[in-house]
């Protein structure tokens, strides 16, 4: 059966990795493509790039990133950040990306999920959901990088995006993001059990036990990991070896 996935996530600004990566002996550790190729060699199952370039240049940098990555990375990769049209999606996929991820644009224009999944297939369309706890068993969807509340219930929105044709959900807990004290197990579990498409859990990974827990307790299909890899606390290889020793179905 399908293995659980470990996915390093790279934030990219104007073509450069945002969080510095200094421990790896690469010619240019600020180059997202070099870094992604490194993670490929290390055994990562996929890579996600999130482009946060805040200017009209973004479309160009995103397409360039997709293209350069395709030359050096031979695992699936996803590109997200400001993608809001069928033309953008077509261009990025044509360069060699496997999936695109949309967040704000999916909330503002749900029709884009439906249309793009029809044109390119659900398997390329990831909807990213940033969720913040607002009550017992209630999480609200935020957009614009977590700045704008939408009034949408995260679980209902997850069900809706599946219905519209999304092939995967990238679920970030805003409460846990950056804390390093573990994924939001409760949120992840509720979303995983409410949809039939794969869910990537994101936000809060600080140790290898956290990765284990999100698989064993929340049944996530994949775990997004940033700082514990970027800052060299653990390698992808170590993480996967540990998870395998814990009885989780992992590709080594």
């Amino acid at each position: 059966m399908i293995s659980k996935r470990i996915i390093p996530c790279l934030d990219v600004n104007k073509g450069r990795v945002v969080k510095g990566v200094s421990f790896i002996n690469l010619r240019d550790a600020g180059d997202p493509v070099e870094l992604a190729a490194f993670y490929d060699r290390e055994g990562a199952d996929e890579v996600v790039f999130l482009d946060i370039t805040a200017s009209h240049e973004r479309r160009k940098t995103v397409v360039e990133l997709a293209s350069r990555t395709a030359e050096k990375v031979f695992i699936p990769y996803t590109i997200g950040g400001g993608i809001d049209s069928i033309e953008d999606i077509r261009e990025i996929l044509r360069k060699g990306a496997d999936k695109i991820s949309m967040n704000t644009s999916a909330v503002k224009n749900p029709e884009l999920i439906a249309e793009s999944s029809k044109v390119f297939g659900s398997q390329c369309i990831v909807v990213a959901i940033d969720a913040k706890k607002t009550g017992s068993n209630h999480w609200e969807v935020f957009i614009h990088g977590g700045r704008t509340p939408t009034g949408l219930d995260a679980v209902e929105w997850a069900i809706e995006v599946q219905k519209l044709g999304a092939g995967e959900i990238l679920l970030t807990s805003m409460d846990k993001d950056g804390t390093k004290d573990g994924y939001d197990i409760e949120l992840t579990r509720v979303v995983v059990s409410s949809v039939n498409i794969p869910v990537i859990a994101s936000g809060g990974a600080g140790s290898l036990e956290h990765l284990r827990d999100v698989f064993t307790q929340a049944n996530a299909d994949a775990a997004l990991v940033a700082s514990i890899f970027h800052y060299g606390e653990h390698t992808v290889r170590e993480a996967k070896k540990y998870l395998k020793s814990q009885g989780i179905n992992i590709r080594i």
Partner: protein, 210 residues
């Protein structure tokens, strides 16, 4: 010597092209019948629906070209939909005729599992002396994305399977014709190994005159 990668408007083939460049192969991405006939080996990649794939091949006058090069034992590698169209029929969006190189039907993956079958899955290697799978250990993982599977009438062509509720033919081969259901171009070093093996097959092959 060069390998022709057929560009027949079936989704993204850039990754396949890049993977062959990465392993140092001479390639030509083409839809020209002449370039395909003269190639030392041919790759048919692609994602999309069975019917569209066959229709595009026919419109580009490549349907008979592919049958011809396979008849001449030119090393051929079909990837994903490129494997599926080698069979007699596909059931995606109604029954469509394929190239009919292999006997069998391409059917939807049986219910009870998430569809598409997307992600890393392990190979069970059935053919120990497959040149395409040389150096690949039993249980090694490859990247799959598909909703339909090839049901082979002649099980002896299946060189490896993968378990997804049912055993799915992950790779098939007969003489110089190979097909893989997974994406070697997205399967990291193991995938590149398979493409290198194919290049070696191309280098050592002896074709019949067409």
């Amino acid at each position: 010597m060069y390998i022709a990668i057929i560009n027949y408007n079936m989704g993204n083939i850039k990754s396949v092209e890049n993977a062959f460049i990465k392993i140092g192969a001479e390639i030509k991405v083409t839809k020209s019948p002449g370039t395909i006939i003269n190639a030392d080996a041919v790759v048919l990649p692609g994602v999309g629906a069975f019917g569209d794939a066959v229709k595009n091949l026919k419109e580009l006058k490549l349907y008979d070209v592919i049958k011809e090069i396979i008849y001449c034992d030119t090393p051929f590698l079909g990837i994903c939909i490129g494997l599926q169209v080698l069979f007699e029929f596909g059931m995606e969006g109604g029954k469509n005729k394929g190239l009919g190189i292999f006997k069998g039907i391409v059917k939807k993956i049986p219910e009870g599992v998430k569809i598409p079958h997307m992600g890393w899955n392990r190979l069970k290697i059935l053919s120990k002396n497959s040149k395409l799978l040389e150096g690949i250990k039993d249980g090694e993982s490859f990247y799959f994305v598909h909703s339909y599977l090839a049901e082979c009438e002649d099980k002896s062509i299946i060189s490896s399977t993968t378990d997804y509720g049912v055993d799915i033919a992950a790779s098939v081969e007969y003489k110089s014709t190979y097909g893989v259901q997974f994406h070697p171009e997205k399967s990291s070093s193991c995938g590149l190994q398979i493409l290198s093996n194919f290049v070696n097959i191309a280098k050592t092959s002896k074709r019949k005159a067409g």
